[in-house]
Amino acid sequence: MDKYIEMIRIRFLMMLAYRTNYYSGILIYSINIGAYYFLWQAIYSGKEDIQGISTIQMTTYVAVAWMARAFYFNNIDREIAQEIKEGKVAVELIRPYNYLGMKTMQGLGEGIFRLAFFSVPGMVIVALVFPLEFSANFSTWGLFGISIIFSFIVNTQINLLTGIMTFFLFNNDGLIRAKRVVIDLFSGLLLPISFYPLWAQDIMSFLPFQAISYIPSMIFTEGITGNAVFQALFMQVVWVFILIIPIQLLWNLAKKQLVVQGG
């Protein structure tokens, strides 16, 4: 266990070395959130609420969705693909740790770093500039906290799956990009799932993506309350367990037919 915690620490320190870049990042994220704010203002154009979400809730939704993304987002799919292409994965496989577990921990180190140095100060700045509404309810914050941990796990699992696919495709930049686009759209980052037509919502309820962004953001903005929150959290947990299966299957298959291209 110690070695995994050490991995988190090392990745955290590595990110810390480049922290100044993150301040420019906050600026860019603020512009992003700002543009969406005005876009949504124009879309609402005087309407009280759309699908039960008020303008102010929508702004908060956008802000928190982007800031939470900084936490759960990572590039381990790209890193895995890179290591496979360069042949480094062969060395990784003989090291005394679980390769996928180690990658997850690196992603977590990155996530914790961004949460502390990016999301939190960024959120404070955004809250000063735009009218956001934060819940005064302690349990909302607690449930949100639990929920973004599951977002991280589900997103990381999907990244691992995408990364492992490199073993079979050899060059999977296309798949990585496609995955990113699908997650942006179907996770609820750009649009709350409840805005979609009903048939589309039905399809999405069978997909793991809304566990990544929609559920934590809705919890934070109190767009879902009461029992629905626990149902949503339960959904996330279910996906965490379901996704373990394809990862294990593909990983075992991949190890058997590993082709090292140089290295």
Partner: protein, 261 residues
């Protein structure tokens, strides 16, 4: 002439390498299509809840999106330099570039092109034709010429901005996450800029002039005469930004000190 023949030689090489990984090529084109569809879905879903976006109808916004895709496709085929900093500066690859007999920026462009993105030209044109038909737009013969000029202008705006950002790497080789996020900001030029407040509108017009890759030139074809002035400025802004960026690049190259091993 030498540059032209280099260009085609690289294209030949590129096509060969691409066909080595056929499965990925297919996925890549599909992922481009998916990416384009995602933005369209966003527009469609939003207009499921509202009739007009500050006076612009759904079809008009779709038309702007279709236009945007064409210069964007040209840009992303040839200026795939969002990871220039990591790929060339941090790893010291720039040393190799500088030993080549053609201009360093041109060499980078040749090495990093992604011709499959050109597919976006067709998607964009199809979307424009679709929306244009619904809006009953008529194109005179000179409109096609203007379309080409505006598309080139827009592509140069994008290229200029990204080359400028890449040039930052010559002064500071720290990792930066600005470039990927700049793609998001580019999207905001696709919406009528009068929905934003003055600061953002100013930024999108003069500092990061993404509005010239979307709403301004499209306004001409949509007959929004209040925006004509901006529309006709598109090629000038494009050329101005691109020239500026090449100038900054050239200065930057002289500051490059080399890294890596």
């Amino acid at each position: 002439m030498f540059y032209v023949s280099m260009f085609f030689q690289y294209i030949g090489q590129y096509i060969k390498t691409r066909f080595q990984y056929r499965a990925d090529l297919v996925v890549e084109i599909l992922s481009d299509l998916l990416f384009q569809a995602v933005n369209l879905v966003f527009i469609l879903v939003v207009f499921g809840h509202t009739q007009f976006l500050s006076g612009w109808s759904r079809e008009e916004i779709i038309f702007i999106y279709g236009f945007f895709l064409i210069p964007f496709a040209l840009f992303s085929s040839f200026f795939n330099i969002w990871d220039f900093n990591e790929r060339y500066i941090v790893k010291g690859e720039m040393d190799r570039i500088l030993t080549r007999p053609i201009h360093s920026l041109f060499q980078v462009v040749l090495e990093r092109m992604e011709l499959e993105s050109l597919f976006g030209v067709f998607t964009g044109a199809a979307i424009m034709i679709y929306a244009g038909n619904l809006l009953d737009l008529t194109f005179a013969w000179y409109d096609y010429i203007l379309l080409i000029i505006f598309v080139l202008g827009g592509a140069l705006v994008y290229a200029g901005i990204f080359v400028l950002l890449a040039s930052i790497g010559f002064w500071s080789d720290a990792r930066t996450s600005i470039m990927p996020m700049m793609y998001n900001i580019g999207n905001y030029g696709r919406y009528p800029v009068d929905i934003y407040n003055n600061v953002i509108r100013f930024v999108l017009t003069w500092i990061l002039p993404f509005a010239f890759v979307g709403v301004y030139p499209s306004a001409y074809f949509l007959g929004r005469s209040e925006w004509y002035g901006y529309a006709f400025m598109t090629p000038f802004i494009g050329v101005a930004f691109f020239v500026l960026s090449v100038f900054v690049w050239n200065v930057g190259v002289t500051k490059y000190r080399g890294a890596g091993n």
